[in-house]
């Protein structure tokens, strides 16, 4: 049986299949139908220091091969997370990464500092790229701000420190390098693409927040391109590919382009069983290609 294990910084994962933040709750919601033990890690919904009610409805709108969302980082806040969610997360038969958001370096730091001592938490995905909140983008678009943020967080944790990048930039490689210079163990990409849809009958935006983040198969080519660029720019830094993965072949594209692992997001909504199937399908494909490990596939894009 081919080896699916991968390493992201200090963290060894059983499989390279993770769940994208915001599409899998806190891991437990899908536990009746998803075998969490076969996942490399679960990534929680974004967590902020203070509770957030999120944006006004409507919060989603379906688009060709995708969807727009403007949830607005609705979450219970750090204190409630520790009291209500951590005990459940400690029971999960897989690693748990907490997706962290903040309006300032200090807010990100507060969460990392508080959760560093919690055994249930195996690492952090630093969300610098949510398009659906005011000030959501500074750390994602300004290399110096990104570097400064990661540099401030690095001393606070020995756990995995992964930075989630936005595609809504001129050159994602520049931001990726800044995050690595700041001390990121790994990079995950991409977050959603900023988009918008209009109801022509009412002439109103289809989302309460007007604009939203586009996800689903529609964005996959953009995500694969970004992974390829970042892999070139940051050799040696593990990349977790995200964006419209709907079949095993979609996931394979990301590995070949340079990702060490992948996250499944929007597909969870329509086919949560995909998470059960994907590790086995990767196994099967590797065996068929006579590869003994997923690591042998990473970054094997041919240009000849």
């Amino acid at each position: 049986m081919p080896d699916l294990s991968v390493t992201l910084g200090p963290l060894a994962l059983k499989t390279p299949v993770l769940t994208a933040s915001g599409t899998f709750g806190y891991g437990c919601e899908y536990s009746p139908i998803v075998d969490l033990a076969r996942l490399g890690a679960v990534i929680t919904k974004s967590l902020s220091v203070h509770p957030r009610e999120g944006n006004a409805s409507p919060r989603i709108s379906e688009t060709p091969a995708g969807m727009l969302n403007a949830i607005g980082l609705e979450n219970c806040g750090l204190e409630s997370f520790v009291a209500q969610r951590l005990p459940e997360l400690a029971q999960l038969p897989t690693h748990v990464l907490v997706n962290v958001v903040g309006n300032s370096v200090e807010e990100y730091a507060t969460i990392c500092r508080r959760l560093e001592k919690e055994e249930a938490v195996d690492g952090f995905e630093i969300n610098i790229s949510c398009p659906n909140v005011k000030y959501g983008c500074r750390f994602a678009t300004e290399p110096a701000d990104c570097r400064g943020l990661v540099r401030a967080l690095r001393p606070l944790t020995k756990k995995l420190l992964m930075v989630k990048l936005s595609p809504n930039v001129t050159d994602i490689a520049v931001i990726a390098r800044a995050a690595v210079e700041g001390g990121a163990d790994a990079l995950s990409l991409i977050n959603t693409l900023l988009g918008m849809a209009v109801d022509v009958n009412t002439r109103r935006p289809r989302l309460g927040y007007v604009t939203g983040g586009l996800s689903g198969p529609a964005i996959r080519p953009v995500a694969v391109r970004c992974v390829h660029q970042v892999a070139q720019a940051c050799p040696g830094t593990p990349i977790v590919g995200i964006g419209g993965i709907r079949t095993v072949y979609d996931a394979l594209e990301f590995f070949i382009a340079g990702a060490s692992a992948v996250q499944v997001g929007t597909t969870n909504y329509l086919d949560p069983d995909f998470l059960n199937r994907l590790p086995g399908e990767l196994d099967g494909w590797l065996a068929q290609e006579k590869l003994s490990s997923i690591k042998e596939l990473v970054g094997t894009l041919r240009r000849d």
Binding site: E53, S61, N69, N75, Q91, L270
Partner: protein
Amino acid sequence: MSCSPAADNASASFVQSQAAITHHAAVSSRYFLLRLQCEAIARRAQPGQFVMLACAPDNGGASEPLLPRPLAILDARGAELELLYFVSGRGTQVLRRTAEGARSGSTDTRLRIIGPLGRGFTPIPDVDAHVALGGGSGVAPLVFFFRRRADGNAWHLILGARTADQIPCTEAVAVPGHLRIATDDGSAGSRGTAVDALQALLNGDLKGRRVGIYAAGPEPMMRGAAQIARTLSFPARVSLEQRMACGVGVCRACVVDGTGPHPKTGLKRRAVCQDGPVFDINELAGW
């Protein structure tokens, strides 16, 4: 299983499956009855719960539209699940095409399905009578509720529609208890809205009785029923509809505001899919 935030509500035991279409037929000018082979969901289904149903077969991951649609359960018998739907947009249009093209029971046209989901209807305690108002997509959950729970003369179901031809055929909505029809143009049953029929019932046969009120369907109808319940201090429950992506509480697309902090999150938001779709009106802000 130790990890079960869902254990404290009815969505604890949902399953995912691929269901074959065994029957599809128009049951009025508006509604279609869709029967699916899906024992695991049929066995668990409770009135007022719903399923997330793909509109087309997977087709190697290329099916459109991408997202499943939340559809209320009309009935569950043995291994079969019945859904009542009408075409309201692109998704249900594709679903209709899929269902009409399906050979009965064919595995080529199996649809991905997740369910049963959400908290459904249960009888309101300590009342003399029960009156339910259904319209639009709210017909299915109330018919199912009556078939499972109604016993005797104290149960009244009022179905509202614009015209007689929109009312599903008698067989599709046969329930124990009293069935009343209200149409805007008077072409069937009483002339007027379901809310008018509720008012008439409360002023007539049920005068002086304490009544539990249930409503599912268009928002003006549910708000009209809630208004009457408030005026008379009667308990009332409504089944809300919102756009959904996941149906299990993770995407947070379908939220509405509750009256107090959510016991789990501390937020005022409630997920219609997980905390509802059926809510006591006292749980909802602005109702």
